[in-house]
């Protein structure tokens, strides 16, 4: 089971790097993140300086001033980038008919889907690992609270996993990569913005919408809180996405 999944995952992970996808996505991500980190940092420094100059008491902490906006922005960038990472996973295999190789190999559908999902997750993990430079810079120059950094990373990883499961699902629906990518982005954005409706919805509906919103579950992580409700929500969201993919591909074989 694990070996089969790993065969698929490692092949797909490698193929991100044999095509330009990984380099473009990672480079774009790092440029934007670097700019954001620089902007946050200099803004924070300026604010701190002003507070000291005019004796206005203590400025915002590193967590509130740098870490939270940094990871919050990172989540938005992942929302944009994930469609480019996942759109090819099944759509390309269907288009090129290479899916026949996977479907006639002695693998279960679950192993194939998990392998694809893990390959995209590994790429995200690489990208996230590259952003460790920012907390390290902060640790060298200042004294940031490590708790929120840790939980922000966990939260980001889980939230992005939800985007990935959406991406895998939409990629299994079509053989057109653009369609898969566009649908992934639209759906991700929808589950992000769904919490906006809570203000106008009734009490019950606002609770439901709030619960369904991907971003509302992220708030605790950004504050250094690790809540089982949020972890459970993200994991079940991913499970549902992959489960639906399984149904789609199972029925694809019948056509």
């Amino acid at each position: 089971m694990i070996r089969n999944t790993w065969v698929v995952a490692s092949k797909d992970f490698k193929s991100y790097f044999t095509s330009p996808i990984a380099y473009i996505v990672i480079a774009g991500f790092m440029v934007i993140m670097g700019w954001m980190f620089f902007f946050n940092l200099s803004h924070f420094n300026m604010q701190n300086l002003q507070y000291q100059q005019f004796n206005m008491g203590k400025a915002a902490s590193i967590t509130d001033g740098i870490i939270r906006p940094l990871y919050g922005n990172m989540n938005v960038i992942f929302l944009f980038l994930v469609p480019f990472i996942t759109m090819r996973l099944f759509a390309e295999e269907k288009k090129n008919k290479t899916i026949a190789l996977l479907f006639t190999a002695p693998l279960t559908l679950t192993e194939i889907i998990l392998g694809k999902f893990i390959s995209s997750y590994l790429l995200i993990a690489v990208m996230l690992a590259l952003t460790f430079t920012y907390p390290i810079i902060l640790m060298i120059t200042g004294n940031p609270d490590l708790g929120p950094i840790l939980t922000s990373n966990i939260g980001t990883l889980l939230l992005t996993g939800c985007y990935l499961s959406l991406g895998v699902f939409f990629s299994s629906l079509t053989e057109n990569q653009i369609v898969a990518g566009a649908l992934t982005f639209a759906a991700g954005l929808f589950f992000w913005l769904i919490s906006w409706a809570t203000q106008s919805a009734g009490p019950v509906w606002s609770d439901i919408l709030m619960y369904l919103s991907l971003i509302s579950h992220y708030n605790n992580f950004s504050q250094g809180l690790l809540s089982s409700t949020d972890v459970f929500f993200y994991l079940s969201f991913m499970f549902l996405g992959l489960f639906l993919t399984h149904r789609v591909l199972d029925s694809y074989r019948w056509r």
């Binding site: 193929s15 090129n96 008919k97 026949a100 190789l101 006639t104």
Partner: protein, 309 residues
Amino acid sequence: MIQVSHLTKYYGARSAVEDLTFEVAKGEIVGFLGPNGAGKSTTMKILSGFMPASEGNVTVAGFDVTKNPIELKRSVGYLPETPPVYGEMTVEDYVEFAAKLKQVPKTQLKKAVTYAVDRTGLGPVRKRLIGNLSKGYQQRVGLAQALVHNPPVMILDEPTVGLDPKQIIEIRELIKGLAGDHTVILSSHILPEVTATCHRIVVINRGKIAAVDTIEQLTSRLRKGLIYSMTVKTPLIQGIEALKQVSGVQSITQAGPKLVIEMRPGGAEIRDQLVEIAVAQKLGVLEFSAERVSLEEIFLQLTTEERPA
């Protein structure tokens, strides 16, 4: 090795394959012959476990396609119509990936890859990207993928399509070489293809089996009576008339110096007599031969007209 009984496949309301029943013995090479859209690919997809059947039972290498799909897939090597190759991988990486997918044990991985690469003649291009190879080589890469785990059964969907004549001969030799150790089913809509490689053929038309037999049997079964052709120097009328009098001759048609002599079915051997008369009548025999019914004719007869059962 392969048992198919009452196999039916519907695409929506349309049936692609209807009530197919046949068997393939171990070590045999069986050709699937039929026009485009006859249901060859559909049948092969079902046999390889790629696609589920609507009705009927399929057993390959002792494994039922619905009950033990994983075990079945492990003992089948399948080459689809379009070779399932990744253009961005090198030949060697791809074959190794296929071997891993097919659960070749780690210790034998290298050996299996070398075997498949050498057997399909991919040695010189092993380090090249598949996307840069010609169609013929890509086809071979597909074939290498199908035999890398040394499966007892190989299912090859139009294995020589898009190849040049030299490559076709090489692939045919390769497939012939597989017989014995492997049971092979291959499909084709090209007839010499099947005559050159297969022991037995299954003729399929519009989703139904039109005939299952050896090539010799099919030929003799469908021969409606022998046809001889005689080329003569001087086609004299009285000479032709004299030939027509020989018992067993049904008709003689003349086209210039060529006489086509159609015999009644089941007649005695009278070639000797025919030549004697022709010589006696001073026709000046240049050539005398028996015409063979080609597989093309068999094929057309089987697939175009409704044969009385």
